[in-house]
Amino acid sequence: MKINAKDLASGIFLLVLAGLGLWLNMDHTLGNARRMGPGYMPMLVFWLELGLGAIVFVTSFFGGTDPLEKWTKIDFVTLALAIAAGLLGYQLLSTVPALSTNWYALGLSIVIAMFILAISPGWRVLATVLAGMSLFGVLLDAGGLFLSIAIMVVVAAFADKEHRPLGVAACVVFLIALCWWVFIHELDIRVNIWPTFF
């Protein structure tokens, strides 16, 4: 038997999603075919998705081999830890009153999860790029646009081993200048430019 692991995983992904959708849809009134309630279309869509997921799942056993990429032990461990830390972090952080606005709790827990994920070389590219972007969100309001860009670029620079400090610094300066010109000077978006927490 030649299992197509990519299709198998896709099938499971679709089945789980469809199941979740159908479960969440229990809150919505279905109505009937003539007067459809808010739950009618979701019901159709998720049942269809469930069916398609099942077909993808079953046919994956006869699809020929297409293995997933090899995961090392550290990939598994960091992924599990990152998910756990992210979820736990969100629960804890959202109880802190100072962090209850501006989605700070959400942003910080993503950053924590991504930093844990970055420990494993297999996830480093993904984790550093996304950590940079999340840090941008966390810092933007209090730190201002320029600081957030600088931090984001520096963190994301770790995704490419060929980056050198001087090159990154040049990148930061160039991007701050470019973004000031495009977004502040030309488009005039409403955002703090300089830090406000002093």
């Binding site: 990519k6 299709d7 995983a9 896709s10 992904f13 679709l14 959708g21 969440l24 919505h28 009134t29 009937n32 075919a33 003539r34 007067r35 459809m36 808010p38 009618y40 279309m41 979701p42 869509v45 998705e49 398609l52 993808v56 997933l68 990429e69 989605w103 959400l106 942003g107 590219v125 993904l126 790029v129 996304l130 940079g132 972007m133 999340s134 941008f136 969100g137 933007l140 309001d141 646009l145 957030s148 860009i149 984001m152 670029v153 994301a156 620079a157 995704a159 490419d160 060929e162 980056h163 090159g167 990148c171 991007l175 470019l178 973004c179 495009v182 977004f183 488009l187 978006i189 955002v191």
Partner: protein, 500 residues
């Protein structure tokens, strides 16, 4: 005919305004740049620039975004011919003969025929859009809700059938897109669906955040994971002039490419990449120089390059006349229009004449600009290829982050983009094609509305979809399209075509 001419005159008036010319040029330049650069495509770029267009008038915004799409078709061929690397998916087949020509010392000729062929095809296709637009619009105005539903269903199915990879998974991705489109407030009852009490979600998932995450951010990550392909220029550009024999051989190929590209562009789910594959297959079978294929036959450059540009123009037809996006780029255009407060559909020709005719005329102007941008300035674009990716991705990331924030001035959208970035990464690893997802996401809410209206009018009877002739025909085509793909022979053909 008189009406067409007066409409076109009106369109040229709109397109020739200073702002619109400037943004058409800007779009053409950006399009050429991302076309030349491998690793960043029009879908990612347009989603990246979507927030920047909010402040502009709708016509100017769409003119620029359209310029990026067809500009990328011009730029993609440069990289394909000179470096044997496809700058875009639609120029994959250009590498086959174009790079061989470059190694034979005819790089200049290959570049010229691809730019001139694209220009001829683009001009013809633009005329086709102008002529067929109002005609199709009249047909579309007689559509009822049931017909619309079936039409959108057809659009979804064909976009899945023609996507790369497994048809089954692409259909699943379309449905997933429709499912994601359900998030938000139910239009008819006001009930919140799948919002988890998050106020930011009551207007639905943000289209730009999704497109940027699934295409922009995940592309950065995937490009960085791959070892960078060092671009080494192996061939000199040489003379840009064609010999008389080359001209003679290319003309029929350009004509055939224009026809096949225009047809495949109109098809829902079609678009530039499908057209260039189709044209290449045709040239290999039909052209006089088919014996030379594999050794740098000019027909293999002229045909596909004409076809992909023709298709890039005609794929606007279903969008402008029916309001139905035929591929991921057009789905982004719908997003841009909706954000501007314009509901794409058959009434657009009448209610937005500036937009409709201005866009068509600016496409032609844009093609003229691209001819100039690409041929005499080829050296500049070759230089651009020397910029390493490590300096490009921080810029893309920064533009994504600020752009997505500026839509609602809310950092929630930044985190949503991060989430969709992860999702796009997973899709890629599982070989799930994300383009149909975007089409499903855009069409889903419209489909629900039409379905509910149709069923209300028919008092809950499903037979309305078969009783109305337009709807019935469309549903038959849906069934045929799906049925054909189940035939093993055809499926193999498609795989061959997609693999080039």
């Amino acid at each position: 005919m008189d009406l067409l001419i007066s409409n076109l005159a009106h369109g040229f008036g709109v397109a020739m305004s200073f702002d619109n010319l400037l943004f058409a040029l800007l779009g053409a330049l950006i399009g050429t740049a991302i076309g030349v650069l491998p690793g960043i495509g029009p879908v990612a770029t347009i989603s990246l620039l979507l927030p920047i267009t909010f402040g502009q008038p709708a016509t100017t915004a769409i003119i620029m975004l359209a310029g990026i799409y067809y500009g990328a078709q011009y730029g993609g061929s440069t990289t394909a011919i000179l470096l044997n690397l496809p700058g875009e998916v639609s120029s994959v087949v250009t590498t086959l003969e174009g790079y061989k020509m470059a190694r034979n010392g005819r790089a200049g000729a290959a570049l010229t025929i691809s730019a001139v062929g694209s220009f001829i095809a683009g001009s013809v296709a633009t005329l086709l859009v102008a002529a067929s637009g109002p005609l199709l619009t009249e047909v579309a105005l007689s559509f009822g809700p049931a017909d619309y539903f079936s039409l959108m269903l057809l659009g979804l199915i064909i976009s899945a059938v023609l996507a790369q990879g497994s048809v089954l998974k692409s259909v699943a991705m379309v449905v997933l897109g429709v499912a994601l489109g359900l998030v938000g407030t139910d239009v008819q009852t006001g009930q919140q669906r799948f919002t988890f009490g998050v106020p930011e979600l009551s207007d639905g998932l943000d289209f730009a955040a999704m497109a940027m995450g699934v295409f922009g951010i995940s592309e950065i990550i995937l490009n960085l994971e791959r070892p960078e392909v060092r671009s080494v220029l192996t061939a000199k550009v040489g003379s840009l002039f064609l010999t008389r024999e080359e001209v003679k051989r290319s003309i029929p190929s350009v004509v055939r490419g224009t026809i096949i590209g225009s047809v495949l562009g109109i098809l829902p789910g079609g678009g530039a990449s499908l057209a260039s594959f189709g044209s290449y297959m045709m040239e290999r079978k039909m052209s006089k120089g088919r014996a030379q294929f594999g050794n740098g036959a000019i027909e293999g450059v002229a045909g596909p390059e004409a076809a992909n540009n023709a298709a890039a123009q005609t794929s606007f037809i279903p969008l402008l006349t029916l309001g139905i996006p035929s591929n991921a780029v057009m789905a982004l255009m719908v997003g841009a229009l909706i954000i501007q407060g314009i509901q794409p559909g058959p009434r657009m020709v009448e209610s937005q004449p500036d937009l409709f005719w201005g866009l068509i005329c600016s496409m032609w102007i844009g093609n003229v600009m691209l001819l100039v941008i690409n041929l005499p300035m080829i050296g500049m674009w070759v230089k651009l290829l020397q910029v390493p990716y490590k300096y490009m991705y921080p810029a893309i990331l920064t533009f994504c982050a600020i752009g997505v924030y500026s839509i609602n001035n809310n950092v929630f959208d930044v985190y949503a983009t991060v989430f969709f970035g992860i999702l796009g990464y997973v899709f890629n690893k599982l070989k799930m094609e994300p383009a149909p997802l975007l089409v499903g996401f855009v069409l889903g809410p419209m489909m629900e509305e039409h379905l509910r209206r149709a069923m209300l009018l028919s008092r809950g009877s499903v037979s309305v979809f078969i009783e109305r002739p337009i709807s019935a025909v469309l549903l038959v085509i849906c069934a045929l399209a799906l049925g054909l793909m189940l035939l093993p022979g055809l499926r193999k053909k498609k795989e061959e075509a997609m693999a080039g």
